[in-house]
């Protein structure tokens, strides 16, 4: 049961307060969407910026709620990740694809989205080429992780994806990515392992090695945040308790290699990790196991 991750050896938080935060975030997302609707139907005129801000607020609040709900209700978390992902896609942000892929709901619409992005975003243009409009490196990374971690997208776009993971400049990128500041080269190495989908022995070993490194960074952030007990106990610390990147990559890897294979590899490599460091990986495994059990029904 995922709720064990709230215990004193893990996050050390009260379930009631996590649920209050979730209710708040969902209410806030609904408030933003209602405001967006009222703006759209009014005669006052709507600026693109106002619409963008309200939709972005709803998307980010929903994603934040989703990672918290994953701690105690996996089916509901999947539903929220899907809703948040769809809103990010509406905003044109590939982060939405990553969220939809981890929720196991990618379909032909996502294939179309990724195809468009690959055609129009010059992802393989040299960094020093002038006048090239391209996605920001983090959004490129979410795009390639989401696509490589989804069987539907991997099959539909295999040649373009393999070109991207083999040739992108981001393979050598050092800029921080995600909530714990993982260097880009590491996330692109993960994407490459997902894209090859276990075609070589040791793919899951290498991938879990990267997840372990991210989990150590996660623990360091969490322990620093926990020092301010006032913010921490009230869920007001500016951190992601369930770390969407680690949780999501674990879930994508588990569905790619099978939950059992990945769980064994994680078990083998995480003996030295604390319970706290393992929280996002454990949640990702639980999420993938739930998707697998649903697929078997």
């Amino acid at each position: 049961m995922a709720v064990q991750h709230l215990g004193p050896m893990f996050l050390g938080l009260a379930l009631e307060q996590v649920q209050r935060r979730v209710e708040f975030l969902r209410a806030y997302a609904d408030t933003s969407l209602a405001e967006l609707e009222s703006l759209s139907t009014s005669d006052r005129g709507v600026t693109g910026e106002a619409q963008w801000t309200l939709l972005a607020e709803a998307a980010s609040a929903t994603a934040e709620a989703a990672q918290l709900v994953a701690i105690y209700d996996i089916p509901e978390a999947l539903s929220l990740f899907t809703a948040a992902g769809t809103r990010f896609i509406e905003l044109g942000e590939p982060y939405g694809l990553f969220l939809r892929a981890l929720a196991g709901v990618t379909d032909s619409v996502d294939v179309g989205f990724v195809g468009r992005m690959l055609r129009t975003s010059n992802l393989l243009a040299p960094f020093d080429e002038p006048d090239v409009v391209r996605l920001s490196p983090p959004q490129q990374t979410y795009l390639v992780l989401g696509a490589a971690g989804s069987a539907v997208l991997r099959n539909e776009l295999s040649s373009q994806l393999s070109t991207l993971v083999e040739r992108s400049e981001n393979r050598r990128g050092v800029a921080p990515f995600g909530a714990v500041g993982t260097p880009l080269w590491r996330t692109w190495a993960i994407a490459a392992e997902l894209e090859r989908a276990g075609a070589h022995r040791g793919a899951s070993t290498a991938l879990v090695g990267h997840l372990v490194a991210m989990s150590i960074a996660y623990e360091e952030r969490m322990r620093s945040a926990m020092v301010n007990t006032y913010l921490w106990s009230n869920l007001a610390s500016p951190v992601h308790l369930a770390d969407i990147e680690i949780l999501g990559i674990t879930a994508l890897a588990a569905t790619t290699f099978s939950s059992q294979t990945l769980a064994q590899e994680i078990g083998r490599q995480t003996e030295q990790l604390t319970g706290l460091a393992s929280v996002p990986m454990s949640l990702g495994l639980e999420l993938a196991a739930h998707l697998e059990s649903g697929a078997l029904l």
Binding site: D30, W52, T53, A56, E57, A225, V227, T229
Partner: protein, 208 residues
């Protein structure tokens, strides 16, 4: 100097208590001032230190070894929120934090109350860190390193010092959770008749 509009979410008993902050010309006071009732310039100098700023941001409820009370009860700082909604930041962090969301979370006592009071005020933020200078506020992003997406995420938290004077408080709004929909509804606001707009500080001279 930067003029920064900010919000402050407060969990108050009722509208009368909310009114008093404007009508009583109190302004937004630091907990320290409210707990001791009177502060002196010399005490302010002693309180505005890097160490206390770190305590406010990272050790807010730890017991102060001098006063034996939680630091929060004697903090000379006032946390305000300015939000972060820049598109560039969003592409890196996937998060928009309008100041209102943060103010409502604090103002509802972290989801425990159905009503929040949200004050709109302005303050001056210096271009560089200057904790000991009372008249300028600090941006919190430089004070710790663990925040999500720390490279890009400002979280929009501002530390004002000792007091936000009442004439820098434009208004307060009352926000309630709607019972039927669960959404937040703005149910009234009160504007401060003594408000001084920050354009007073503008160095743009108009043509005559």
């Amino acid at each position: 100097m930067i003029v920064q509009w900010c919000l402050k979410g407060l969990a108050l008993r009722d509208d009368a208590e909310a009114d008093a902050i404007i009508s009583g010309q109190e302004g937004l006071l630091a907990n320290w001032w409210r707990s001791v009732g009177e502060v002196t310039p010399a005490e302010i100098r002693q309180k505005l230190t890097d160490r206390n700023a770190d305590r406010h941001v990272n050790h807010f409820s730890d017991v102060d070894p001098v006063t034996k009370a939680p630091f929060s009860a004697h903090s000379p700082f006032i946390s305000l929120t300015a939000g972060t909604v820049e598109r560039d930041s969003f592409t890196h962090t996937n998060h928009v934090h309008r100041a209102l969301q943060v103010a409502l979370w604090f103002g509802t006592d972290f989801g425990r109350r159905p009503t929040a009071y949200v004050y709109t005020c302005w303050t001056l933020v210096g271009p560089r860190r200057a904790v000991e200078v009372e008249s300028v506020a600090e941006e919190v992003r430089d004070l710790n390193t663990y925040r999500r997406y720390s490279e890009y995420q400002t979280e929009g938290e501002i530390l004002a010092k000792v007091i936000v004077p009442d004439n820098q408080v434009l208004k307060y709004e009352r926000w309630d959770r709607d019972v039927a929909t669960g959404r937040f509804m703005r149910n009234g606001s009160k504007t401060n008749p003594r408000f001084t707009p920050p354009t007073k500080l503008s160095n743009v001279r108009e043509l005559i």
